[in-house]
């Protein structure tokens, strides 16, 4: 297993390197001078030149790239153009909020997705199934900022149950997690329904029943575990998305987060921050997918062998 994980990590190195290179090229190719952006629209030209020199932007591209790579390898992600802070600090500051939001909304998606998905499959083609299917589609299609504001209006303004904004407490996490998790929940519901239906018609389910096992055991011990595999795949993708794609949720609920940070950095052309953020989300994605694969092999012994 350890070897497998190592192997996987080694294989991801070229991917990360590739994406960093590509991002580097894109950003530098895009119009707009970070020095000008820092100095402001009406800055005197000498000031802009000075800044450009300070930021190393006057060096040839390949040199900037080499320096950047070398620094990254040493774990030095440089300083933010925008506020001269070490990039790593800026990113780390956002991580807890991002992680907790991603974790809770994933949890929410899992719980809701599995319950509804199983229900829908068990009551296949009955009214409940149709209701669940439409609900799951609603979840998938409901625009997030609309849902977010609606949640605030209902739960925060009218019912005064939950806080709308903030990063600290668990209560502050509930509404945004719900808003963010709804899409995942909808997707998972559909996914779980499908795979449960597939598994439920596998021949081995008949064997289980022939053994006299109760329906509960058949469903929850065997069917669900077999159905887990495809669902876990989706989950991996979802977590990735929640880590980096929560901009709307972060904005509506005034939360910290990597999503917003990256968008801001792109707008400010804060190159070191963009690069580091991509590196971090890339690493996270690799780890998440690795976890998914490892949990695969936990769920499905067949994978263990090929791994």
């Amino acid at each position: 297993m350890v070897k497998y994980i190592l192997n996987r990590l080694i294989v991801s190195i070229p991917v990360i390197l590739g994406s960093l290179t590509l991002v580097f090229l894109i950003i530098h190719w895009l119009p707009g001078d970070p020095a000008q952006m820092i100095a402001g629209d009406d800055a005197a030209p000498e000031r802009i030149d000075y800044l450009r020199h300070q930021l190393g932007l006057d060096q040839p591209l390949w040199q900037q790239y080499a320096v950047y790579l070398w620094d990254s390898v040493r774990g030095d992600f440089g300083h933010s153009f925008a506020n001269s802070q070490p990039v790593i600090d800026r990113l780390l500051a956002q991580l807890p909020a991002t992680l907790s939001l991603a974790a809770l909304s994933t949890l929410f998606a899992i719980i809701v997705g599995f319950i509804l998905g199983v229900l829908s499959a068990v009551y296949q083609n009955r009214v409940l199934d149709y209701i669940v299917r439409v609900i799951s589609l609603l979840g998938v299609s409901m625009p997030k900022f609309w849902l977010g504001i609606l949640l605030i209006l209902v739960f925060s303004v009218h019912l005064q149950l939950l806080p709308a904004i903030g990063n600290g407490s668990f209560e502050q996490l509930i509404l945004p997690s719900f808003a963010l998790g709804v899409t995942g929940a909808g997707m998972l519901t559909r996914m779980v329904r499908n795979s449960v239906l597939e598994v439920i018609h596998e021949p081995f389910i008949l064997t289980l029943r022939a053994k006299g096992l109760s329906e509960k055991i058949v469903l929850y011990k065997h069917v669900l575990r077999n159905a887990l595999l495809p669902a876990v795949t989706i989950l991996g993708l979802l977590v990735g998305e929640m880590l980096s794609g929560a901009v709307v949720t972060e904005t509506v609920f005034s939360r910290q987060g990597l999503g917003k940070l990256v968008v801001d950095a792109i707008n400010q052309k804060d190159i070191p921050v963009i690069q580091a953020a991509i590196l971090i989300t890339g690493l996270f994605n690799i780890v998440v997918n690795l976890m998914v694969d490892v949990s695969y092999s936990y769920v499905d012994p067949r994978v263990r062998k090929t791994g």
Partner: protein
């Protein structure tokens, strides 16, 4: 004998989108304590549904018992709730399913799946259940059961999985064991092992067994009594000897007659029951068999015959008495050796056999096919699965060459290499003198025209989304760029040739029966008038009667189109019947090549001999005293040294362990690779 299971007037219906569908119609049968009853019948006749009804599992398939009663030990099962019946399942009645590959939950260990059922039904600690599971595994002949307990189904071979299934079924000492085609998915050698295991177990535990099969050879070997089903009805029920000696129902007669045995005269057309089993939604009136019955009268058309007592057995036929009388005549007609007639094909083959000696159509020299095993990033391709290892032989023009061997010995791989579906690792293949491996792309397309293949799995080998016409017409589309009505005309003529109704041009594959699908595969293969056809287990998946139809068809076409066949199968009866020469493969090597009769009469290799002895014989009087081949085939990734068969060979010596025997000529046309040929 006290009846253990009584099925009385049972009907089972299915709820479908188009209303309810009657799958089983008023069947009655009993099984006594300690008795083995075989339920036989063509595919789709309702055998599985009957067994599922006994378990009351039919409800999970959308079916329900609409009439009648099932009693186990006097207790009615029909009225029980699912919860109540689940207390009996696995405890008093246990079931073994058809497909050992898919009947086990892939993500739980064998052990936990056995323990699960013990814990469910018995007051026993987890540890106790584990002990018991281990002893069960040992009992069904699984070596090192402690290790196997912790393994997952995919880590076991088919035979071992089936044994595990049996262990699971036996776990709580059931009174009735239902075995639904327990060996169809397995090799002849493993099949023989499993069947003898079942018999032993029955004696040991005093169980009753309901054995479902469509292989009458197995029925003859195992059964005390046989129940024959046709289209959801029981048509005959009788003790095994009586049934085989004196079948009363025309369907039973037909079935018995379409079995290909070692006694079948080669070249003679096989007997088939005309037509196919009707679909449940479209049953004929009166006797359900009448459209296929040679004796059908007007009465059969309108009235459904009840199951009636006749000379110590039960038959459902209006003409039973008359046929009973006719039976001897009926058999005499075909079995008498005097009536042997060489078909044109056979005559032709004789000629061809002589001519061809100088001019092989296909010449295979030292072909090897190794599959690299990937083991992570850095050590790719260190080890190989040696699926085909140094094989040489030739096929002459117009002959049928049979290739036999246990599952996994490399038959298909060899076939795929011959057809260039897989690149040979080494060696040369010449077709009509042309080197196939070296030839370029243009040549390659021409070769495709000349060499065709009929696949084992009739369903898997045709695109489920395509219309039949397009499937058969694909070669025309590719090679002759035919479209539209031109293609249609050509396809229809081919369909005619293989006995498919041309008006089915627009149907989809799933709307055909297995036999018809295989015809589709054959039609596609012959569409371009090839010279050579590889039939890879082309009939293995089919029913006896359908099997005969297809074999007849293939021979027919061979004769008409001057074809050469390479016929791969593990059913030795059929291979014997169809082939002129046979090659026997073991673990990637050809171990024996001989003309058919010679091989069956004087097998030279010990492996061949074991194979031959494992064939079930459909004659209850000739219960075999076979020596099942010990153990299973070793992994082709790590083949044994020396003679690869030495691990299972009764005659193996130190020499066999060290020196690889060469394929040598031992009598005219007979080669064997054995240090100590028989």
């Amino acid at each position: 004998m006290k009846p253990l299971l009584e099925i009385d007037d049972l009907s089972v219906d299915f709820q479908t989108a188009k209303g309810s569908l009657n799958a089983i119609n008023k069947i009655s049968l009993t099984i006594g304590t300690g008795e083995i009853v075989c339920l036989v019948g063509e595919s789709g006749s309702g055998k599985t549904i009957t067994s599922l009804s006994v378990m009351r599992l039919i409800n999970y398939d959308g079916g329900y018992i609409s009439q009648g009663d099932i009693k186990l030990d006097g207790q009615s099962l029909v009225g029980l709730s699912q919860k109540e019946i689940s207390d009996l399942r696995g405890k008093k009645i246990a079931m073994i399913f058809q497909e050992p590959m898919t009947a086990l939950d892939p993500i739980f260990t064998i052990g936990s799946q056995i323990v699960e059922v013990i814990v469910r039904h018995e007051r026993i600690s987890k540890l106790g259940a584990r002990e018991k599971a281990i002893s069960l595994l040992r009992r069904v002949g699984i070596p090192e059961p402690e290790i196997r307990m912790g393994q997952y189904p995919y880590e076991l071979s088919g035979g071992m999985r089936q044994r595990a299934m049996i262990a699971m079924a036996l776990a709580c000492g059931p009174e009735l064991l239902i075995a639904d085609e327990p060996t169809t998915a397995l090799d002849v050698t493993i099949q023989a092992q499993i069947l003898s295991l079942l018999r032993e177990l029955k004696d040991e535990f005093q169980m009753s067994i309901l054995l479902i099969t469509h292989d009458l050879g197995i029925a003859a070997e195992m059964a005390d009594r046989v129940v024959v089903m046709y289209a959801g009805k029981v048509v005959e029920q009788s003790p095994v000897h009586q049934l085989f000696e004196n079948p009363a129902h025309p369907y039973t007669q037909g079935l018995l007659h379409s079995i290909v045995t070692l006694d079948n005269v080669r070249g003679l057309k096989l007997y088939t029951i005309k037509g196919t089993i009707p679909s449940l939604s479209n049953l004929p009136t009166g006797c359900r068999f009448h459209p296929r019955c040679p004796y059908a009268t007007d009465r059969c058309l309108s009235e459904d015959p009840p199951l009636q007592e006749l000379n110590g057995r039960e038959v459902a036929c209006w003409n039973a008495e008359r046929i009973d009388h006719l039976a001897a005549e009926f058999f005499g007609d075909t079995v008498a050796p005097t009536s042997i007639e060489l078909t044109a094909s056979e005559a032709y083959q004789r000629d061809a056999f002589q001519q061809a000696s100088e001019q092989p159509l296909l010449e295979v020299k030292n072909v090897k096919k190794y599959f690299p095993i990937r083991q992570g990033l850095f050590q790719r391709g260190r080890t190989y699965i040696k699926a085909v290892d140094d094989v040489s032989f030739e096929i002459r023009k117009g002959e049928t060459f049979g290739l036999v061997g246990e599952s996994g010995c490399g038959k298909s791989t060899l076939g795929r290499v011959l057809l260039q579906l897989e690149k040979a690792t080494e060696g040369s293949i010449h077709f009509e003198g042309r080197d196939l491996i070296q030839s370029g792309a243009n040549d390659w397309k021409a070769t495709r025209k000349d060499m065709q293949i009929v696949f084992q799995d009739p369903y898997g080998s045709i695109n489920p989304r395509w219309k039949v016409g397009d499937i058969i017409g694909e070669p025309f589309w590719v090679h002759e760029s035919l479209r539209g009505s031109v293609k249609r005309a050509k396809v229809e003529s081919v369909m005619e040739l293989v006995g498919l109704n041309p008006s089915w041009y627009d149907r989809l594959p799933h709307e055909f029966s297995g036999g018809q699908r295989q015809r589709i595969g054959i039609a596609r293969a012959i569409a371009l008038n090839p010279k050579f056809i590889l039939a890879d287990e082309a009939v293995s998946a089919l029913d006896v009667s359908v099997q005969s139809q297809i074999v007849n068809l293939m021979q027919d076409i061979q004769q008409r189109m001057n074809l050469t066949y390479l016929f791969i199968a593990h059913g030795l009866n059929i291979v014997r019947y169809i082939s002129d020469r046979i090659g026997v493969m073991y673990l990637g090597k050809l171990v024996e090549i001989a003309p058919t009769d010679e091989l069956f009469r004087h097998p030279a290799h010990h492996y061949t001999k074991a194979l031959l002895s494992a064939i079930p014989v459909p004659d209850p009087n000739r219960k075999r005293s076979f020596v099942p081949l010990e153990g299973e085939m070793p992994s082709p990734a790590r083949p044994p040294s020396g003679c690869r068969f030495h691990t299972r060979c009764p005659a193996a010596t130190a020499l066999c362990r060290e020196v690889i025997p060469e394929l040598t000529l031992i009598s005219p046309g007979h080669h064997a690779a054995c240090h100590y040929p028989l």
